[in-house]
């Protein structure tokens, strides 16, 4: 729990980098500070671990004023990762990660175990990477080591200043996904600074938008996209904010589980009967035992064909279906790409679990139903 109370940073020339900022960061949440350059987001973050002195106001960490804690002690209990990573080139990966544990004078055995544990957490094989030097690593691996180093002494709070800023977009995406998983496992209170709104929406439990040192809006990503507070925020989150919001919604609660289906070994007559009974013009075809989606068949084709297999459009599920863990945005994208008004949804094995209608997604965008936080977590975990 970090409590920022009416904090200002005034430079000697009178410039107010941060101006009367107040916000509170709940324990275990990842709060993203975002805003244009010079908005004071990094300054605010650096005031939390006193790398920059506060001019007025106070910052409470777990109820204690951070000015009362000796600066070094304070910083050793707050993980710190920056965009430039700042890995020490003369130290091995394990020495880098062990920086804070060494400062805290842990014993060597504990440090070694902790280093291996962290390397595994960030997805690097300890035996391969422990004794490498930073210059032997790729940019993505360096970022991972940077994160591992920030987690070094298991601090309850972490400050991250664009920690994935220095890598290519594909690697960044992978690192973000991994970090979300790590955060689910470690549940730190994290202050995350970025200027990338997509990253903020993806990563943040809450997003604080700053402008000229002042807080403009502090809300969950959904609220921010749904009810932007004024023109600045609206512009900042972008014209496609509804689309972005769909990206936060999992498709599970939009799922229509009553799917009309026929089995592959059915006859053409049986299929026609199913269609008539349900009043539809086409049905999905699945395997009998496994329920794996194999294609679809429509009424017109059945009229002229001899058997169901002749009439069906055969297609692997990976081509026509979306996964059940996809977001509404991905489902919409798939429908637009394939020209479907209804898309099948399959689980990991390819079993047909339901369908999504285009109207359902449109309704979601228009009526803004409240999305439970559970769904959000699962939606972003999607691979």
């Amino acid at each position: 729990m970090i409590e920022i109370r009416n904090v200002s940073k005034i430079y000697p020339n009178g410039f107010r980098a941060v101006d009367g900022l107040s916000l509170s960061i709940p324990k275990g949440d990842l709060v993203v500070f975002i805003g244009p350059s010079g908005c004071g987001k990094t300054t605010t973050m650096r005031m939390i671990n006193r790398l920059i002195a506060i001019s007025t106001g106070e910052i409470l960490i777990e109820g204690r004023n951070n000015q009362e804690i000796p600066a070094e002690e304070l910083r050793r209990n707050i993980g710190y990762a920056i965009q430039q990573i700042g890995l020490f080139p003369h130290m091995t990966v394990s020495q880098n990660i062990a920086t804070v544990p060494r400062l805290l004078e842990w014993d060597e055995g504990r440090i070694r175990r902790r280093v291996d544990e962290l390397l595994e957490l960030v997805g690097l094989d300890p035996d391969l990477y422990r004794d490498k030097f930073p210059r032997q690593l790729s940019g993505g691996q360096q970022q991972r080591v940077g994160v591992a180093r920030a987690l070094g002494a298991d601090p309850p709070i972490m400050l991250m200043d664009e920690p994935f800023g220095a890598v290519d977009p594909i690697t960044r995406e992978i690192l973000q996904d991994e970090f979300i998983q790590i955060q689910h496992a470690v549940e730190k209170t994290i202050v995350f600074v970025t200027h990338d709104i997509d990253e903020a929406i993806k990563m943040g439990d809450r997003i604080a938008i700053l402008r000229d040192g002042k807080l403009v809006q502090y809300d969950t990503p959904e609220t921010l996209l749904e009810k932007p507070n004024g023109r600045f925020v609206r512009d900042f989150v972008g014209a496609d904010r509804q689309l972005k919001r769909l990206g936060l919604v999992g498709i599970r609660e939009l799922l229509d589980k009553q799917v009309v289906r026929v089995y592959m070994d059915a006859t053409a007559a049986q299929a026609k009967e199913v269609m008539e009974k349900n009043g539809v013009r086409s049905v999905f075809v699945v395997e009998r035992e496994t329920d794996i989606l194999r294609g679809w068949v429509n009424k017109e084709a059945l009229e002229v064909a001899d058997s169901l297999l002749d009439a069906m459009h055969e297609a692997p599920y990976s081509d026509i279906a979306v996964r059940e863990r996809a977001t509404a945005r991905e489902a919409l994208s798939a429908m637009v790409a394939r020209g479907f008004r209804v898309t099948p949804v399959v689980n990991r094995e390819g079993r047909l679990v339901g369908t999504i209608r285009l109207e359902a997604i449109q309704e979601l965008a228009i009526y803004n139903p409240v999305v439970p936080p559970q769904a959000l977590g699962e939606a972003t975990l999607n691979e």
Binding site: L51, I82, Q84, I85, H90
Partner: protein
């Protein structure tokens, strides 16, 4: 830890081996053939019957003269009339005769410039003057190149007879005189001659044959704490061709062995630090022993100034007062003593001005350091004379002033060059400013800082040569004296070792730089 690496002999070992072979072959380099070195040596006085006689004393203050008379015979020893020469050697103050304990080294340049062999040469009369020789046993070591006919007896090659009791003539015996017919040439050994009588001659020759093992004046210059494997003039000024102090080739073999052992015992680790250090020390010692290898310098002078060598009377001029290694040791002492001050002070100054709170001084120090380099070196040295006087101290102070600049400049550059994000993340993780300095800044800057120290020391090898103008000693001395008196060999004996010293120092410090640079920084991205 069991190795899964195949052990391979490092290339450097072959390098050392080749060096050893070359150096060994180099020991067969000889002086000009008409330059004969006589070693008059009192055989072990404690084992001879005439113990009553005090050791030979030619005091530094005495004006006693050593008179040596010898014959030079041409052609058949008994047919031609011997040409007898009588030469006087001022024992106290002449670099042709140098006394060291019981040994007197006499260098004779034969005026007849045609090559002779020792068949032609014999000491016919004794050492005269006030030196009592009648009951002292002497022997004469004659280098390999100039050896007598083993069949020859004494007195200009006449075969035969032993001297009788009381005979004052100098007897020259092949050293296995006691009936054993062995060809000294075959054994590649020095031939010893004894001046004495009867049994003493045998004893003397045995003692002389032991001479090759005697390193009683193993030189260790106490002022500088560096072993000088060569010789310097306070101990022995001339050595026989086969006696090169501690033979350099053995040294080369030793370091080859070291490298092999290190490579073997550390084959499992990637640690190359020890090898680098061993090689640096080895290369330094090899070259250092060359400084003491007077034969080498004689040979060099002989090649460069062939006429000077043979001209009568020029021999004194060929060599300056001190030996090469003596000058080199003085020189190195100047450089090392000044660096002992430069390195800590320069580092502290560089660290001081790069601290956040002292930033105000940085431009001032930067300007001072940069403009300091434009001051001519000779000006820095010369200005010391009117201020402090002459000698070692003013030279060292001048070296400190001049050598400080690269150290400070590189320390500042190295520390300023540390990525600010590195310092930011170190501080952000809770390091104190001192911890940031020692754990992050200095290691990252170490390569640049060490390069500054290396530059400083190598520059100071050059600057120290100018120290001769304030009479500091060192390799500048023979250069300055040679220029003044127009003696080219002196200039060569100062300039060549000075250049060599700068190159060796640069190499050694380069290895040190490699050792102090953290491994992680040696990997190129």
């Amino acid at each position: 830890m069991n190795s899964n690496h195949q052990f391979r002999v490092p290339v450097a070992v072959w390098g050392w081996l080749i060096a050893a072979i070359l150096l060994f072959l180099g020991t067969f380099i000889r002086l000009e053939p008409n330059d004969v070195l006589l070693v008059l040596r009192r055989a072990n006085p404690f084992e001879l019957p005439h113990k009553s006689n005090p050791m030979l004393q030619i005091g530094e203050n005495s004006r006693e003269r050593l008179v040596l008379t010898y014959d030079i015979c041409r052609g058949e020893a008994d047919s031609d009339a011997p040409l007898t020469e009588q030469r006087y050697f001022d024992a106290a103050n002449c670099d042709k005769v140098v006394r060291s304990g019981d040994t007197i080294w006499v260098r004779i340049v034969l005026e007849n410039s045609a090559p002779i062999s020792l068949t032609d040469f014999a000491v016919t009369d004794s050492i005269q003057g006030e030196i009592p020789i009648d009951d002292t046993c002497w022997h004469v070591d004659i280098p390999l190149r100039a050896r007598p006919n083993p069949d020859a007896g004494w007195g200009g090659g006449q075969a035969g007879a032993l001297p009788s009791q009381g005979d004052k003539a100098v007897c020259i015996y092949p050293h296995q005189v006691a009936g054993e017919i062995e060809d000294p040439l075959l054994y590649n050994m020095d031939v010893s001659f004894a001046i004495g009588e009867g049994e003493d001659a045998v004893a003397a020759s045995i003692a002389a044959s032991n001479f090759i093992h005697v390193f009683e004046d193993f030189p260790l210059s106490p002022e500088i704490w560096l072993p000088t494997f060569g010789t310097d003039n306070t101990t022995v000024i001339k050595i026989n061709s086969t006696h090169i102090g501690l033979p350099v080739f053995l040294l080369a073999l030793l370091f080859g062995g070291f490298e092999l052992a290190l490579a073997y015992f550390y084959r499992d680790t990637v640690n190359k630090l020890l090898q680098a250090l061993v090689r640096a020390i080895g290369v330094f010692l090899i070259f250092w022993s060359f400084f003491g290898h007077e034969i080498f310098w004689d040979y060099l002078l002989g090649v460069l100034f062939p006429s000077a060598l043979t001209r009568t009377g020029d021999i004194e001029l060929l060599r300056p007062q001190n030996s090469v290694i003596g000058y080199a040791a003085d020189h190195l002492e100047l450089v090392i003593v000044s660096s002992l001050v430069i390195i800590p002070v320069g580092l502290l100054l560089g660290i001081f001005v790069t601290r956040e709170e002292n930033r105000d001084y940085l431009p001032f120090v930067n300007n001072l350091v940069n403009s300091g380099q434009t001051v001519p070196t000779i000006a820095v040295v010369a200005i010391m004379a009117p201020i402090i006087g002459i000698g070692f101290k003013p030279a060292v102070i001048a070296l400190i002033i001049y050598g400080m600049l690269p150290v400070v400049r590189n320390t500042v550059a190295g520390l300023e060059g540390v990525d600010p994000f590195m310092k930011d993340s170190a501080t952000g993780m809770g390091m104190t400013p001192t911890q940031v300095l020692f754990a992050i800044e200095l290691p990252i800057a170490s390569r640049v800082i060490m390069a500054g120290i290396r530059t400083s020391m190598v520059i100071n090898v050059g600057t120290a040569a100018l120290g001769a103008y304030v009479a500091s000693g060192g390799l500048g001395d023979p250069i300055a004296a040679g220029l003044l008196r127009q003696v080219d060999p002196w200039i060569v004996l100062g300039a060549v070792p000075a250049a060599l010293l700068a190159i060796i120092l640069d190499y050694v410090l380069g290895r040190v730089e490699f050792v102090v640079t953290p491994r992680g920084l040696q990997i190129e991205q």
